[in-house]
Symmetry: C2
Subunit: 184 residues, 2 copies
């Protein structure tokens, strides 16, 4: 493993209220010097939840995604609040976005989205043993909840509005976990 | 499918040389008004390549990732240049980062990374029938090339420096594609 570069200086380049952009001056172990920019997310990170309504039914949501300016089919997700633990955040986001709470919550993986450019972690959580319970969210319009059969796994991957890498990965991770449980 | 919100105004909030941040004023079909910020990537997007050295060996790279300030194990990736097609970009990035070119290149999927906040597409490409050929890249230090057995799939997912959602997803997609080819 190479020796990490030394951070010679770091400064806030921009703070837009949503995005915090930082510039860092680095010296690599071979003497090369570079200046990189990165987006620095919250220390708490985010959760993405795979809600399992029954053993063969997942819940997805369809909502407007401003980054790509279109409606996107994806798993519920959101930022973790300060002082909130990962599983509580997952349970809260699910209640806000799908109207279900979970009695069972399990961390499947913690991933980065673009480690070269963004400091950010997303925790992928499998939620099961659901019951109806809604929390008010801050969404501008009602979110469409879309039940999807796990057996229609391939068709979901082919949906033109199911583009998000994290949601696609979460689908594979959930399927693997459920298959291994069946084998146990 | 709900009617997409109307974009009432859009303006560049910040242009850092690396990140272009835009602010958009939206009116949803129910009359709700919101202002969102987003990072706008290049229209060309990026490629992420899964190089298949032989039927059971993948090539990964380990390089410094400034966003998370640590060395990361991931598949080779990079921006598509203006006028370059997806498969040519994949073949170029692979030559710059691994020292191999491919005779066979196949698009597996095109994904978004954070559609709520970022306009960006990554094209995931499977590369096979490799031969040694290096192109000079612009990396600050030599990139470590890490061969990995496809049969050690599970161990790769458990590596603490293999955190990137796109790379993890690409691993699942490549495995599925290779399994379906074996079945054919």
């Amino acid at each position: 493993m190479p020796k990490p570069p030394e951070i010679k200086a770091r400064r806030t380049l921009n703070e837009t209220g949503v995005f915090h952009i930082e510039e860092i001056d680095l010296e690599f172990s071979n003497g090369e010097q570079r200046t990189y920019q990165r987006v620095v997310g919250s220390d708490e990170g985010a959760v993405l939840v795979v809600p399992l309504l029954d053993e063969n039914t997942l819940l997805l949501i369809r909502e407007y995604a401003a980054g790509v300016n279109q409606y996107e089919l994806a798993f519920p997700k959101g930022h973790i609040e300060k002082g909130e633990d990962v599983l509580s955040a997952a349970n809260r986001e699910m209640q806000e976005e799908t109207g279900y709470a979970a009695r069972q919550l399990e961390l499947l993986s913690s991933v980065s989205v673009a480690p070269g450019y963004i400091f950010h972690t997303t925790h992928i959580v499998l939620a099961s043993d659901l019951y109806p319970q809604r929390l008010a969210g801050d969404e501008p319009e009602e979110i469409e909840v879309v039940p999807w059969k796990l057996s229609a796994f391939r068709q979901l991957l082919e949906q033109p509005d199911f583009t998000e890498a994290r949601s696609q990965l979460a689908l594979f991770l959930a399927r693997d976990k459920l298959q291994s449980k069946t084998i146990e």
